[in-house]
């Protein structure tokens, strides 16, 4: 009796969930749960049915309720529920672990996933055995826990295992790269190693409408080709239910299961797959759209007008059921099922458990769909293949069914009546699935290789790889933002900004990596753009750390450090695990001279992400400010080890080495920096400074003259030139250059200029003529830098002095 209640109800709940009607779903699930609990207790008292089954029932309903809570954004409730009821379903335990993780209860999450005693935790193989089809995701979650608890080696291992089981988990690959592991994306993103797609898709089809099939209890996840019991071929969630077979409340997601039923497990598996079953019946049919990869269109079948479409799909696309898509060109992984394939797959004799159509059609008498009974009747008998089709077709099917082997008839008129073994069937199905997933896999290989290079900071290589992607993929927000980030890491902020602008045009809702955009604008001092960006982002996502980082950068550029600190603190509160937020906060504290707080922030950033070289750099800067150069050098070198291609870091290391009197080492470093990034004027500037302080004046002069060509507007270049000339004894030239330096610094930002210049001026000849003219050289365009290449004239020796004096006013 309970079965009658459950099926439509569960299906109804899934339907609500799929349409995001969480309050409805939650309410119904709560009622179902209560009912189950009562029945469960009743069963136990009466010992009518096997306690296991009712326990399974109630486990399912608990899991369903917990899912409702979780999807409504209440992991706490889900956690409490699951914790109290302790279901044994792997999927339910996975959900419990996930809730624990999100509530920061890492120890609990870990014990659920890989528990066992503390002394003898389970290995990853045990985990995968226990969790069946959810193993890859369970391992992924475990990896995240390890990362949070700073166990890098175990995290890497778990990620690798997870990817082996399910190469569709991109985030595992990302984590692996971010841990600093060098992974070969070609080896990771391949379906060749997969025995079945069960891990990638789940047993009852990955569609959102499906329940986690309790058959996992009965038919554990397949290991090895020979033992495959479930080959799941599922369609995607994207399909819209075209055909709601009677009664509507069926999960739209579909799953087709071609499974070899061994007599014993058959009943259980069947029972377990009820919804599956129904879903297969109901599956979406014929939406004409098909994305490019992973698509196996069904071919129009058989002569009798009876179609036997093959619902073979891999993770993505829609099925065009009877689409006459004879697309011979495979493209990105499309594969048309031809007759040969169908013959391969088709089935006589082999047990397709869910022969939905047939079963279903028997149904109309019993609206409650006691599938169990039906299926037991038909299960082993019909060789018919899964069909995603409309009613009429299925009716025809039904009629044809009693004839014995309709499958073979419809599938191939060539009457290949040789029964295929279940094994061959599965192998064939697998091959087709693999072919169809190949398109996505090859894209992932390319993208993965690029991401790997980026995470190792081989940015040029990453840029090349990303630019080689096909145009339609290149033009997406993610790829463009990765390009932006690559240029950002190369310190090429202009290019980075250009890419980020493209991202904003195409995907204005995109928030990830926007913090890098804001920092690039900060470096370029583009106030207007930055404040516009911050405004726009704040409109879109106040709950996102990246947005608050952008806002903080905006105020930092305006020198309002207090406000910037407030915003960065907010960013950190919103997402405590966002390392960059801590780094930016640290930099702001350094600006307000609160060095202890800054140090705390940088240390926190580093503990979250040890490869976050910006934080290491920040710690180095703090020590530099405290003039503890040895420590500063150490931390700068740390940062440089992580990001060896950053010329800025090399410059810092070089300067610090010089401060430590290691002048030769400093020069070596600076030479390397110049070779690496000739566009960075500061490398030459620092080298010139080192020459100057080592009294290698001619070399300094040469360097500075080259630099003058590179950046003709930089006041400090002229200042240094002045100092060089001063040391060389060319007092006049020195004064000239100093005055030019003053000219180029209208805001007087460099107070040291005045202090440095004073002695030079006082040494000059005839400087007593302090005619108090207010008209200084400021704004006088006669001292355009272009003039300087000419030999210095003796013109206006006194004007520099006047300029100085007019600057004295506050």
């Amino acid at each position: 009796m309970k079965m009658i209640i459950q099926e439509p109800v569960q299906a109804a709940i899934w339907h609500c969930l799929n349409h995001y009607a969480y309050s409805d779903a939650t309410f119904l699930a709560e009622r179902l749960c209560a009912e189950d609990l009562c029945c469960c207790l009743a069963d136990r008292r009466c010992r009518l049915t096997a306690p296991v089954s009712s326990a399974v029932q109630s486990d399912e309903s608990v899991h369903l309720l917990a899912t409702c809570y979780y999807r409504s954004g209440r992991p706490g409730q889900a956690h409490t529920l699951l914790h109290s009821r302790q279901p044994r379903l792997p999927a339910a335990r996975y959900l419990l672990a996930l809730c624990c993780f999100e509530l920061d209860r890492l120890a609990e999450a870990e014990s659920i996933l890989s528990g066992g005693s503390i002394l003898k935790p389970k290995g990853h193989d045990d985990v995968s055995g226990e969790f069946g089809d959810s193993a890859s995701l369970a391992l992924r979650l475990l990896a995240r826990i390890y990362i949070r608890t700073e166990r890098k080696a175990k995290a890497a291992e778990a990620c690798k295992k997870s990817l082996k089981l399910n190469p569709f988990l991109w985030s595992a690959f990302v984590d692996l790269c971010n841990l600093g592991e060098s992974v070969d994306s070609a080896k990771v993103f391949t379906t060749a190693g997969l025995d079945s797609f069960a891990m990638c898709q789940g047993p009852a089809g990955g569609g959102p409408g499906t329940e986690p099939a309790p058959q996992q209890h009965h038919a554990p996840a397949p290991h090895g080709v020979g033992h495959v019991t479930n080959v799941n071929i599922t369609s995607t969630p994207y399909q819209t239910p075209v055909n709601a077979l009677a009664g509507g409340a069926l999960p739209p997601g579909c799953g087709l299961t071609v499974s070899k039923a061994t007599p014993d497990s058959e009943k259980d598996a069947v029972r377990g797959k009820q919804a599956l079953f129904r879903s297969q019946l109901n599956s979406t049919v014929g939406s004409p759209y098909s994305p490019s990869f992973g698509f196996l269109p069904l071919d129009t079948p058989s002569p009798g007008g009876e179609s036997l479409p093959l619902g073979l799909l891999s993770s993505s696309p829609a099925l065009t059921n009877n689409a006459e898509t004879h697309d011979t060109k495979p493209g990105f992984g499309r594969r048309v099922l031809n007759r040969k394939d169908r013959a391969m797959l088709g089935l006589s004799g082999s047990s397709v458990k869910e022969n939905n159509k047939a079963n279903r059609l028997v149904t109309p008498k019993s609206p409650s769909r006691k599938i169990k009974t039906r299926s037991s009747k038909t299960a082993l008998t019909t060789p018919n293949f899964n069909e995603l089709n409309e009613k009429n077709r299925s009716e025809r099917q039904l009629k044809s069914e009693p004839r014995g082997r309709p499958g073979s008839e419809t599938i191939t008129s060539a009457a290949d009546a040789k029964p295929l073994t279940g094994q061959q069937l599965q192998v064939a199905a697998l091959t087709i699935q693999r072919g169809s997933a190949e398109g996505l896999m090859s894209l992932l290989r390319d993208v993965g290789a690029a991401y790997q290079q980026l995470s190792q900071f081989s940015c040029r290589r990453a840029v090349d790889l990303l630019s080689a992607l096909p145009a339609h993929q290149f033009d997406t927000g993610w790829v463009l933002s990765m390009l932006g980030k690559a240029h950002f890491e190369l310190n090429d902020y202009k290019e980075a900004v250009r890419y980020f602008q493209m991202v904003r045009e195409r995907e204005p809702y995109r928030l990830e990596t926007m913090e890098y955009y804001s920092t690039a604008l900060w470096h370029l001092q583009r106030e207007v753009e930055l404040s516009a960006l911050a405004q726009d982002l704040l409109d879109h996502g106040r709950h996102s750390a990246e947005v608050w980082c952008a806002a903080g950068n905006c105020f930092s550029l305006q020198k309002e450090h207090e406000t910037a600190i407030r915003f960065f603190t907010r960013a950190v509160q919103v997402t405590p695990q966002f390392a960059y937020g801590h780094t930016l906060l640290g930099h702001e504290y350094v600006m307000t001279e609160e060095l202890e707080k800054a140090l705390t922030c940088f240390r926190r950033a580093v503990s979250i992400d040890p490869r976050h070289y910006n934080a290491w750099y920040g710690i180095g800067m703090i020590f530099y400010k405290q003039e503890r150069y040895t420590m500063a050098e150490m931390y700068f070198k740390n940062a440089l080890d992580i990001n060896p291609q950053s010329s800025v870091l090399m410059c810092h290391v070089g300067v610090v080495q010089h401060n430590l009197q290691k002048t030769d080492a400093a020069l070596l470093t600076l030479n390397r920096a110049i070779a690496l990034d000739p566009a960075n004027p500061l490398c030459k500037f620092h080298r010139a400074s080192v020459f100057l302080s080592s009294e290698r004046l001619q070399e300094a002069l040469d360097e500075l003259l080259q630099l003058k060509q590179m950046v003709p507007n930089e006041s400090l270049v002229f200042f240094l030139l002045g100092k060089v000339h001063e040391k060389m004894g060319h007092a006049h030239l020195a004064r000239m250059h100093f005055s030019w330096a003053m000219d180029l610094d209208p805001k007087g930002a460099n107070n040291q200029l005045k202090e440095a210049i004073e002695p030079a001026i006082s040494r000059g000849p005839g400087d007593d003529d302090k005619t108090a003219g207010e008209a200084g050289v400021l704004g006088d365009s006669s001292f355009l830098p272009a003039d300087m290449t000419a030999t210095p004239e003796a013109a206006e020796p006194f004007q520099p002095i006047q300029a100085m004096e007019s600057d004295e006013s506050l």
Partner: protein
Amino acid sequence: MITMLPSEAVEEYDPYKEERLGRVREVGNQAVWSLSTCKPGFGVDQLRDLSLETYWQSDGPQPHLINIQFKRKTTVQQVCIYSDFKQDESYTPNRVSIRAGTSFHDLRELEVRELSEPSGWLVFALRGADDRPLRTYHLQIAVITNHQNGRDTHMRQVRVHAPVEQRGVTVQPVGSFVSVECSQYACLR
């Protein structure tokens, strides 16, 4: 050391502009402010809000004191006070003294200034011993007398400025780069 200033304060000095340009940094937020006396509703908040309309009004005997106590020894470059004779008349401070030290008991007078109908921002540049930048825990602004012998005083706004440590990572003691082409490479963020 008494200095006479012309009736105009230093012409159009705008501390906010200086802060925005990054030449100085306002550090009042890192300190604890207290007043010797004040009228309810006319206290520290009114002295430190960014509005020149609100003011602090003292309510007791002279000298009226503003105490600024930092958590740690802070380098202070100057103190800016806004005062307007036209609005405050007899409440306008006449003689102002700036003192610094480690606590209430060892304050040392740095500057005393006699004001004459001020109207605008008054800047008190502070130097420590040996003419080096002043580093202090405790700063005190004392209003000793008011115009027209008024008892209580009004003070509209006070800003405390610290020098900006502009020194980047450079070999020579230079400040920051002026051009964007250079400054973008000067640091990482």
